[in-house]
Symmetry: none
Subunit: 150 residues, 2 copies
Amino acid sequence: MSNIADLIEEYILRQLATKEDGKVELRRTDIADKISCAPSQISYVLSTRFTQDKGFVVESRRGLGGYIRIVQIPLKNLVYQDMLEKINDKTEFVEVQSMVRYLLQHQMISNREAALMMQVIASAYQSETMTVQERVRLLKSILLTLKNFS
Amino acid sequence: MSNIADLIEEYILRQLATKEDGKVELRRTDIADKISCAPSQISYVLSTRFTQDKGFVVESRRGLGGYIRIVQIPLKNLVYQDMLEKINDKTEFVEVQSMVRYLLQHQMISNREAALMMQVIASAYQSETMTVQERVRLLKSILLTLKNFS
DNA sequence: AATCAAATCTGCAATGTTGCTCATGTCGCA
DNA sequence: TGCGACATGAGCAACATTGCAGATTTGATT
């Protein structure tokens, strides 16, 4: 099937696959030239196949130095679900810490959200008075909030 | 990135970063020479990227000894500072709640950040075991984090 | 003082470089 | 044969770049 939309999708996915961090920056006209198609076709493919709920974020800029940035984001619910299941009364601080790092590196949370979370999480672990049950409940509620608001 | 405007922006930001007080004074033609571009390009970048609502104030003067002064204004810090000062061991839940609402309504935090904060704050107030001192410390550290990451 | 020249920045118009939207058309397949 | 996915181009919106006339400011000259 030499359907142009498929070619474009493949091309972008191949570019993405070469990147470790799941981010590429492309120029629309470059792709259009390479594939030999109308530039608007690129926009079409992006809007139909690189959607948020398929795990992509697309940002762009026009004018000189224009670009299209495509970021592949892990399936959110799975990640959060996984993390939620991992958290129990024996979960160490460093584990939670690395969860936050993971979320940050995969653009599932912002810098500021990460800082906010780290602050709260550190407090929870340092607290002399907070019970382990309370801490677990707090951590889970944070992850749940993120999950529901993504 | 062969985009001159970006270079100029970076240059100015770098100059600003070297200053402790967030103020720089530059000469338009100097920058233009350094970057090798038309002087009016500097004006363009200033008017599009160093705007008031991005937290900058630009003053300038023409003529001999003319200059461009760029000031990075931490307007938002005032709000956070104010809130920080208001928080003590007698601060009620509803007050904190309305602070979060204020931040949200003024677009200083996102929906998700607000949800995150409310979650944590509610936990802190509901906790049977957390001491008042711990709670105050937590609330302040949250606001401080936001302040530093804005 | 009044004037002029030089050094600066301002404002704006003209033009170039991209990406986006939308109306419209095509094509394969159930 | 009708629907939905695919394809295209025109016109538009957003961003960048440049040049030039004009406004300001300083300082030197008359």
